[in-house]
Symmetry: D2
Subunit: 404 residues, 4 copies
């Protein structure tokens, strides 16, 4: 039964359309709603709305839900709409009046917000760990191949010499910056919305919002209830934005590896076990995994723009539109996590071909160095540059005094 069920019946077509797939997505939110429901119940007990018996009955009910969930036996029925309703319905059935009291002082709006925000914090934590793991995989590449010199490209043309250490190091630095970015995102969203109810606070009752916020591990209470609603979508956009920043790093790394793995370059070798074949060309060993990592950046970008576009042109207060930020959020996070994971795996499998790198270090890459050597001899840079661009002039300029 739905939380808001009154006397008229919602047409089944409308119901199917409006419920969408929340009853599937929400399995990922269940543990967080349970956590928040527990904190909420304890607070209701502390302010006298729930008796001790109510509380222990609810705690037992929530434990049961979590146990069922652990065994994949707690299902959210389509008619329950979402995990929040499923949980309340379960508690009402199991705990009698105590179940009917659990929704006191909260609305589904802040209940959803709280569960999602706890979920987000946990996910960002996981992404952070995967970034660390990727950083370590990059370090391992450096340890194995760091000293190998290779061409650096600008305008997709050989430009100057670089080495594997600088190349991999650039991604290491990107990963470190993204770790910082994530820390800042957490810092921003770490506000407890529980108790903001439908976006205008709770009349009559005197909730202890500090208590729930602290129990749930939030850094601070989100004071303004209307801002709590406004933050839905705004915060999700920021989180997905951080995901797309990470995915950009992976997109570039995959672009590098795909190209350097081409026969024309041969700088990078991928082991057979990560390559796929062709249904018609027997000789192919394709780097599908890299192409997909590259492509998935765009998928995350699409999710980001869904959210940023749909939250626009809407007045204050909850609008149902915002519910549709959930799937883009989940998809963006899941995509980012799986790409981080698989990229680290690819890095551990690949090798750098030292011979090919050496062969690619052709003379013209050293033109800048030549120019700077002239600078050391006192030639102004602009002249040195023009001399280095011209082989004959260069020979003349670098002739030792005794040369003819």
């Amino acid at each position: 039964m739905k939380l808001w069920k009154k006397d008229y019946s919602l047409d089944t077509r409308i119901e199917k359309f409006t419920v969408g797939n929340d009853h599937i997505l929400d399995l990922d939110l269940l543990e967080f709603d349970c956590k928040a429901s527990r904190a909420h119940a304890r607070m209701l007990n502390a302010i006298g709305v729930l008796t001790e018996d109510d509380l222990s009955s609810l705690m037992a009910g929530i434990d049961e839900i979590l146990e069922l969930h652990e065994r994949d036996e707690f299902t959210i029925r389509e008619q329950d709409e979402d995990c929040h309703t499923a949980i309340e319905n379960f508690l009402t059935e199991k705990c009698g009046d105590a179940g009917k009291k659990i929704h006191t002082g909260r609305s589904r709006n802040d209940q959803v917000l709280t569960a999602i925000r706890l979920f987000e914090k946990a996910q960002i934590q996981e992404i952070g760990e995967l970034l660390d793991a990727l950083g370590e995989a990059l370090d391992r590449v450096c340890a194995r191949f760091g000293k190998i010199e290779m061409p650096g490209y600008t305008h997709m043309q050989r430009a100057m010499p670089t080495d594997v250490k600088m190349w991999m190091g650039s991604f290491r630095a990107a990963v470190d910056d993204d770790k910082r970015l994530l820390a800042r995102v957490v810092d921003m969203i770490d506000q407890c919305p529980l108790g903001t109810a439908a976006g205008f606070g709770v009349p009559v009752l005197d909730l202890d919002r500090e208590m729930t916020s602290k129990e749930l591990g939030f850094a601070r209470v989100m004071e303004n209830p209307m801002y709590a609603q406004m933050s839905r979508g705004k915060f999700e956009a920021i989180i997905i934005g951080a995901c797309s920043s990470i995915m950009f790093d992976l997109n570039k790394l995959a672009s590098d590896l795909t190209m350097y793995n081409m026969r024309e370059f041969g700088l990078v070798t991928l082991p057979d076990k990560i390559c796929t074949g062709s249904s018609i060309m027997p000789q192919k060993r394709n780097p599908d995994v890299l192409e997909l990592i590259r492509a998935k950046y765009h998928m995350v970008l699409g999710e980001e723009f869904k959210v940023k576009s749909l939250i626009s042109n809407l007045i204050s207060g909850y609008n149902r539109d915002i519910q549709l930020t959930k799937e883009p959020l989940f998809t963006a996070i899941e995509t980012t996590k799986s790409c981080l994971d698989i990229t680290a795996f690819v890095l551990d499998g690949m090798t750098i071909d030292e011979e090919a790198c050496k062969a690619a270090l052709t003379d013209e890459l050293y033109a800048t160095e030549k120019a700077y050597k002239l600078v050391k001899r006192g030639v102004p840079f602009r002249e040195a540059y023009r001399i280095a661009a011209n082989t004959d002039a260069y020979k003349k300029a670098t002739r030792s005094p005794g040369d003819k």
Copy 2:
């Protein structure tokens, strides 16, 4: 077994990552691949690659797949990757050597392209029918309420009088234009890619591409094999673009209805059966369905930009990235269809409140009419405009000769 399976084994993590959920999505493509496989087999028979026995064995095999599929009993295993492989594997098992010959003269690339294009044509057909149904629903609203006058808004401010007929008629015109748009999209994509193989045609064999194209109901053969690959993504972007054009109409209609349904307007009444409630506010009857239609425009937009962004900066020839256009395409089409359907349903349920419309037709809406009446009396428009903006001046200007 995969079509390209050779002697080395693909790491299971890579496999899981690269397969994605094609094995689920592809259930929608199965019938189209069967259709194309049939046409391909007949052609191979006609050019002497398949014997009569081969052909009848394959036809029986394909029939069996379709029967299983009808009973939801044909599953695409994750290790089969996609429906194309599942079909070939099934045929190889059932038909022996004939099964091993079915892939002659095609690649998975053109096989996928052909199945998707047939799917797209069928889907566009369905969208067209849903547009027709929506058009009829709009006509029914006109038939019921068309004569009711109501305010027209500009800058979200009452501007001039209009009526339900003109209002609904504007969406009718949009629907008609979108029908035309769809017809043009079909006209563009109606090119048969079967026989382009991996994007460079088929050597040695002399395929009869006209024959398969005709049997599959395509308007023409897609001659250039490299263009066949290039069209993947390009065509999908155009199709999703048409979906977003349709969704724009629905977004505007939903925006109108949501606002006119507000208590402050009261011009539109939605029946209880299409409204949902609130978990905390007992009085609420929320137009969730309209809000979701509005929001889903942005979801389609996100899918459109995924495709348009991911097809960029890639060289000619198939790149695995392109595979990721499938889910956005499916999602955009499915979303558009369900929104068209539900919008027609809402239109049939809603009523226009004639009294509220009348009450909203306040005096200032007729200022333009006043000005034009002065124009009729010979006053230049710019002066008439200034007079109409000023009540006293207007009274003076419209005094009949005999007035004091």
Copy 3:
């Protein structure tokens, strides 16, 4: 003076903010507004609102504007807001009462719509001509180098042999499809909005909308005035969508050329005169022009997204938001035109290196051909495929009867 100027004064900061740069952009619309104003005046004369004297006075005034404009001497002052106001103000000053009558039966809304639509039709015509020119440039590359064989790539890996004719031909086919796409876009937008006024038609007066539509060369009258408003943004999105489809072709061509021009490939040679240098690396000859063509696809995509996002979640009737579709439209068109033009120029300058192409046609590219040769000998394709993937097996399978 503004068309709507009444007795209160608009704050200068607000004025500056709201006017934006329309007074600059609108120089491109001026001739089209003059054309539409002429048709409108003739029609007003035909229905008796303007006298013959009024008409000839206005015609002379409009001629004068166009002459001034030709000499770049007609300026739209910031306080005039846009070209439409500037024209009316000029006519009022020059033609007295006739000037004050020109705005009869139209609003700035349909005036803007009409001028923009005429502009769009003219621009699409130009884009079509540039597509033709590009098609011819592609043909010239084929004529010069078409027979040269080169490797075709899938997954960015050498796959099968192709030739310059097929490669360039794929872009030729894309250009042809885009020409068709443009024709369809014109067909859709070719509706005359003049006379729809502020979006609710014109009361009292009986305009002859067929007359103006015909004079302006439109295929048909846009009947529904509210749809006229709704079409603003919707049509622009479709036009920019066509631009991004064209830009996609160029993006891919530029991606191909940039890569094939790399030293590692050497398939394509760009003349010095189209390359730029580096400020620090004397040896560089960079293909900036190709990189920018590639990048500009994304710029057009951004303009498309602006329009598609900003037209959402707005009720029927004109909203000022829509005014901001003008700059994205202009930018997208201008970018597309300049990229088409410069791409044709690059094609005429480049050469294909036959030697490098030949060297790149390594053995493994012929594995599919080998497999098909076995098929010709009666080996089922799947077996032929496995044999071709294995050199020893292949030798064995292709041994002539007499071989040992």
Copy 4:
């Protein structure tokens, strides 16, 4: 003359196409490049590349540029390409050999990066100040009208009572969060790229990068030269992302105000001086400024998408594509600044209509409060909710013991 000018001449069409409008945009970067050039020169002197005379000559030259710029007399000619070249050319002309030495140890790549990053830091500072000013304007609205009660909306329907303080407070909280967001963005980008040259560092010479970084006020040196190149685009995307987060707040505020200003609501009154009129409807007073603020969110979103899309699928090292991030960055920042400024101005001008607010506080808004009063009497919330939804049941439930 271009920095990289060698012996061949760039075709004029290519030149026009590649230069774009950098020579105009770059006027905003000039002072920052001068600042960075000064720091660079001092460092070159410290490490012995420039003599004292060289240094003082260059310092005088740079001073002269800044003075000319202050008087709007320093122009960047189209043939100079950008401000960086214009500055070097000026210095070469004025300072002779010293001018030819200034480019030692840097490339245009790190020169551009450094100037842009200094520009970004300055702009973020300005945006922060405008956010403060907006916060204060919000506080002033609270001070004037904070106590007025008004309806809060969910699903665009009257839901529960709120007041101006909570409403405006929600934007105050958003502004505060965005201030935090900006601080984090600065913290991330505050890395000095000067000395990374073309993305692979400087050979031969031993630059003192700590020295320039400190003089320019950066928090730290950006160590990895390849990451410096990678950060271009990545950082811009993050900055524009922060702009779009701010613009989202303004979009929502403008959406609220536009609706509450409608005659149907009348909660908000805008002074005449910020409204515009209609060219055909004499009575109109349109809130164009609010509609444009609303719309400009989407413009910033489009700029964000441009950057995020164009930086994708490119290999490491500078690609010319990245140059096109400049205009989106400038546009997004400028748009955000002007919208922040004008929003504060609108807030100071508007009034809240206390009577209209009171009239809008209809009975049904208090249903939740009623339910909670029953909860206080001991009724479990779910029952209280059902009772409050039903007037008769509610009367019965709230009857005092003595009532009949």
